[in-house]
Amino acid sequence: MPESPDGPETPKTPETGRVHTGSGFGRMLVAVYAVFAISATARSGVQLVLYFDDAPVAYLLSAFAAVVYIVATIALARRGPVAEKVASVAIGVELVGVLVVGTVTVLDPELFPDATVWSGFGEGYGYIPLLLPIVGMWWVVRTHRLNRRTV
């Protein structure tokens, strides 16, 4: 993705002078998060309602992942210090989740009879689930730093 030398430009909010995680490059990031929030929610909904008894642990994990994506999407899209905090926690949980579930599923593929978003470090989703929390964390930290400088 092409970027200017000092990273993607972030337009500042005129009223407050604070930058915000949901504008500029963050707008595209929120779009990707929204796609994962919606697809994970839909998938886990179908799993929980129709097939719960087949693989309860995997399906509960799918549901947990869906909630994490929803919280991260909303927090990134909102402005303010609280939203920044919530976003960083949600993205941290997401990163730990994909790393732990990824490692466990690679070491013991039999453990989960059915795949989750985070299985095999997100291999079923082009490894975007692994990349997303890393980019997301970078973006939240960057926004946080910029705001500390302006306040």
Partner: protein, 120 residues
Amino acid sequence: MALWFAWFVALAAVAVAGYAAYLLARNRPVDNPLFYAASALELLLVVQTVAGCVALASTDRDIEGVTFVGYLLTCVLIPPAAVLWGVSEKSRWGTGVVVVGMLTVAVLVARLVQLWSGHA
């Protein structure tokens, strides 16, 4: 559902995503040609939804109906959402939102073909 039509729709979505990516690389916000291209894709997706539902109703094969119709409807919702949200961001990243949306449509259509072919 005629599979060639679905592949045509997926290719069209990739093409719109490609044009949006070109605008993104050129540091440009959503422009009129992109808007019209996304609208044309939306028409194809509406046709696909109708054709898909008819095909699902008239087949006696065992297709995951809930997921199939869910994918069809999600496909139709994405272009308007992506374009509306992309237009309201007056920078190249608004175009980026359209790239994300169009690629998502392409993936969903490919998944529809998989569901229909029984490789879910």
